[in-house]
């Protein structure tokens, strides 16, 4: 056979064959082996998922009715519940949200929100926000900056609120306006049996409001300058917020107070925004009239995944707070940033103590997952003199909050 082939190879006039014939021969051979194009089962599933817009449908639900997942307060557990969300009412000029959630730790939250869209070409923002919270296990370590980690207790907080805000934008990036609303609060014994209840551990003289239920009428004004490039995942620009609100105790006239908030954020990008230094300074200052005290449950607090990340949630609480955050972020790959951060802050009883002394400090590192300029997952590992904390959050480190009186309610 081999001899025959060798003989043939030397005997046949090869030049009679042409390139074209050779290529056609190759095609002919292929033509008899054709089979329909197939994609893998997984590719087909993923394609259908996208083509049928399953994520969008799940997210939007049926005519606006959908499941609301997550979003509970820190240590509130994983929340789930129904939500009715529409942004196309009145020809797209009104956005509505009605939701109710219960969490794995028996926390409950209800929201009714109506918000204007594109009023007067975006120069007016109006919002009505009503909330209900049932938070049975809020941590409390006692008043002041010297509270002990071992002094952990808990209390139940149940509240209802109704607030209205109106924002005017005279020039781009600036929003200012008034706000008013009502807040009804019920505080009770904590339901977490692993720890003492706050009312059993601390006397009413140390924790004002722990023994009496009251309600508030609140009103105030806000002024905001927002030059952030992407509100949900900023890399450049600034955000400067000043709010003043007055809480009037409607029942006892004993727990009214003034609250002044300044929240200053600046993002400094370099190397084409692939490196960012994010800075924040925030202070909450309260003031009372004669005979008034700030109820402990409305006092500013520090500790947790959004401020002092090396400390437990609600670790420090007093009439005033001061906080500094600094982050250096750098891009690992498209969609993931890493961060080194340092936090410093304190709570303090008197406004005269607004200074840089006795700051609690924490530092650490973290990851930020981004999609389309939005931070959808943040993982932070914080270290402090009290140990180590890990945080899994679904927001930017400096999350945007509603404006006006509702925003000064610390439990969102």
């Amino acid at each position: 056979m081999l001899a025959l082939l060798l003989l043939a190879s030397t005997a046949l006039p090869a030049q009679e064959m042409t390139r074209e014939a050779l290529l056609q021969q190759e095609r002919q051979q292929r033509a008899v082996q054709l089979k329909p194009e197939r994609t893998s089962r997984w590719e087909e599933r993923i394609r259908l998922l996208n083509e049928k817009r399953i994520p969008q449908r799940l997210s939007y639900g049926y005519n606006g009715l959908r499941a609301k997942l997550g979003g509970m307060i820190t240590q509130g557990g994983f929340g789930i519940g129904p939500e009715y969300f529409r942004e196309d009412l009145f020809d797209g000029r009104l956005e509505s949200q009605i939701s109710w959630q219960i969490s794995t730790r028996a926390y409950q939250r209800g929201i009714l929100r109506l918000r204007s869209r594109n009023l007067a070409g975006g120069r007016i923002e109006a919002e009505m926000l009503s909330m209900h919270h049932y938070y049975p296990k809020i941590q409390y370590y006692g008043p002041g900056p010297d509270s002990r980690k071992s002094g952990r207790s808990n209390f139940l907080l149940e509240d209802n609120s109704l607030d209205f805000s109106l924002g005017l934008s005279p020039i781009r990036s600036v929003l200012l306006g008034p706000s008013t609303g009502w807040l009804w609060i019920n505080v009770g014994p904590g339901r977490d049996r692993r720890f003492a209840s706050a009312d059993a551990q601390f006397p009413p003289s140390d924790v004002p409001g722990i023994d009496r239920q009251t309600s508030f009428y609140r009103y105030g004004a806000f002024f905001r300058v927002n030059t952030l490039d992407n509100p949900a995942g900023p890399r450049a620009g600034g955000f400067y917020l000043f709010q003043y609100n007055r809480y009037d105790d409607r029942r006892y006239s004993a727990y009214g107070f003034n609250l002044l908030e300044a929240d200053l954020r600046q993002y400094i990008p370099f190397y084409n925004q692939r490196r960012v230094i994010a800075l924040r300074a925030r202070t909450l200052l309260t003031d009372t009239r004669a005979g008034e005290s700030v109820p402990f449950y409305l006092q500013p607090w520090l500790g947790g995944g959004d401020d002092l990340r090396g400390f437990r949630p609600f670790r420090f609480r007093d009439r005033n707070s001061l906080l500094f955050n600094a982050e250096y972020r750098w891009e690992i790959f498209a969609g993931l940033d890493m961060a080194l951060f340092a936090d410093a802050g304190k709570v303090f009883p008197r406004r005269g103590q607004l200074n840089f002394s006795r700051l609690e400090k924490s530092g650490g590192f973290g990851f930020r997952a981004n999609v389309r300029n939005r931070t959808f997952l943040r993982i932070d590992f914080g270290f402090s003199r009290e140990g180590f904390q890990a945080w899994f959050k679904f927001n930017d480190i400096f999350p945007s909050r509603p404006l006006g009186t509702s925003s000064t309610q610390p439990y969102q």
Binding site: S9, R30, E43, K52, Y60, R274, R275, W330, A334
Partner: protein, 524 residues
């Protein structure tokens, strides 16, 4: 003839042909007429699957880590792809007049008003819809983002002209201004809104859609109108493997020269979105036969544009790579990637495009593309010589088709393209001897030193060694002489081996049949 005899004859022919380098009809400039493709089904690929598959497991046959590399398999003996369903030799082989360059794939029949909207998309940031014009032709309409008027439409039209001149099959595209009153909505038209719900498409939806686009002072909107490609759409082609239902698709795509060489074109024009989704196969009928034609599509993410926003400053880097990610983590970001150091002037109609930091050898698309990854120095040279062939005036003429209203922006874009072109020439003319356009003149082998032509460092002078060549065995024989003059040939074929003392590893082999150049091969 018995089966055994047929088999023997086939084997005998195969053995005879094995090793033969040239055939009488070489070099073949045009693909043989295609076989009838029948009725292949439309293929639908998942963009997400495609993205992750390529990032995590780059498919296709890769270049071997050792041993001889796999050269492009779809080329003729001169090293060029043949004119056909994938590619047509255009500007480099026949300098196109400016008007022809500006026309692109058509350029003579823009859509005629009124337009009937027959499809619209309600999701995504970039507004777009499909219309049938007054002459019953189907056009796909895309608009610029509000933040960057003219950016996407200019990029789309400019790049489609370049890719057409570079030889690819692309759509016929126009920049058009229309007024909303030029649009008529087809009866009972529905669309899928951003929540995945099918809704009637009304005039109000159209108005909302147009709110996402910049409005001209006279109330009109600027858009790019892409004429639907000829033939029945069959879905995208992959950058590896072959279509199993196409008899003419015999060469794995990762081994096609025009797809490997596309890396250089993509780098030049910053076409970093080289996913399958930006390609389209169509079933075309000619003389009663059907065949599949392969197109490049959607150039809205080229130059400085990222379609709905300026291009990412990451342009020129993979979305993800293990090595780069590890470096970034380990160095706390102190190892700054080269692309992050780019500086971009503020031209909203350009987006993010520059030429100072650009390095064609470092540039990468968004994900590992099997064909681009398989490129060899001869693939790169094949592409680079085409890029270098564009003169400044030709580049300027094509950029003008983008109709940028800011003359400074236009000039900036031209300057960037010229500087990027020159960087490409310097990078790839260095990797092989930059010689081309071989022919015989007055008994001598003549060629063009492209580096010298374009004012770049040339490895000249060159040495030419002539050898006899046994075509049947694909083997060079005895040395016949030196120098440009062609020596008497003992047989039908001669081989010239060109080298340069300045680059001892690089050679070009040129084969002659009589006085005709029939083969060229670069070594490195």
């Amino acid at each position: 003839m018995t089966t055994m005899r047929k088999l023997l004859l086939t084997l005998a022919i195969a053995a005879a042909l094995h090793g033969q380098r040239f055939y009488p009809d070489d070099p073949l400039l045009v693909e043989p007429p295609p076989l009838d493709a029948g009725k292949p089904a439309r293929r639908r690929l998942s963009d997400w699957y495609d993205l992750f598959w390529h990032i995590l497991a780059t498919p296709g046959e890769k270049q071997p880590k050792s041993g001889p590399p796999i050269r492009a398999k779809n080329v003729n003996t001169l090293g060029d792809p043949m004119d056909g369903a994938w590619y047509v030799r255009r500007h480099y082989w026949r300098r196109m007049p400016l008007e022809e360059l500006q026309r692109g794939a058509g350029g003579t029949a823009p859509p005629v008003f009124p337009w009937t909207v027959v499809a619209a998309k309600g999701e995504g940031i970039t507004p777009g819809f499909t219309v049938i014009d007054a002459t019953k032709r189907r056009f796909f309409i895309k608009l610029d983002p509000v933040t960057n008027p003219e950016m996407m439409t200019a990029a789309e039209v400019i790049s489609s002209r370049f890719f057409h001149a570079l030889g690819y099959h692309v759509a016929d595209e126009y920049i058009v201004e229309f007024h909303p009153r030029d649009l008529v909505i087809q009866d009972r038209l529905t669309f899928i809104n951003q929540h995945g719900i099918e809704r009637p498409f009304t005039r109000r939806n159209l108005t909302e859609l147009l709110l996402k686009a910049p409005r001209l002072p006279d109330g009109r909107y600027r858009c790019v109108a892409s004429l639907a490609l000829e033939g029945q759409p069959l879905g995208p082609f992959r950058w590896f493997g072959t279509r199993s239902d196409d008899p003419n698709d015999t060469v794995p795509h990762e081994h096609r020269r025009e797809l490997r060489g596309a890396h250089v074109f993509f780098a030049w024009l910053d076409h970093d979105d080289s996913r399958a989704i930006n390609t389209l196969d169509t079933l075309v009928t000619r003389n009663g036969k059907t065949f599949i034609r392969h197109h490049l599509l959607d150039f809205g993410s080229t130059l400085g544009s990222g379609s709905d926003k300026p291009n990412s400053p990451r342009s020129g880097a993979y979305h993800f790579s293990w090595r780069e990610s590890a470096i970034q983590m380990a160095t706390l970001g102190l190892a700054v990637p080269y692309w992050a150091k780019a500086r971009y002037p503020r031209y909203p109609s350009i987006g993010l495009f520059e030429s100072k930091v650009f390095d064609p050898e470092k540039w990468l698309p968004e994900y590992p593309n099997p064909a681009l990854l398989n490129r060899l120095p001869d693939d790169e040279f094949w592409a680079a010589k085409q890029v270098m062939h564009f003169t400044g005036d030709e580049i300027r003429a094509i950029v003008r088709t983008g109709r940028l209203s800011d003359p400074q922006a236009e000039e900036y874009l031209v300057r960037c393209l010229i500087e990027r072109r020159d960087k490409i020439g310097r990078a790839y003319f260095r990797k092989v001897l930059p010689l081309d356009r071989f022919h015989v003149h007055n008994g001598e082998l003549v060629f063009e030193d492209l580096a010298a032509t374009h004012g770049m460092p040339s490895p000249a002078p060159y040495e030419i060694v002539w050898r006899a060549f046994d075509n049947r065995r694909d083997q060079p024989g005895e040395t016949l002489g030196r120098g440009a003059r062609i020596p008497p040939a003992p047989g039908e074929y001669l081989m010239a081996e060109i080298s340069s003392p300045a680059r001892p590893r690089q050679t070009v082999r040129v084969w002659l049949r009589g006085r005709t150049v029939v083969g060229v091969e670069y070594g490195w």
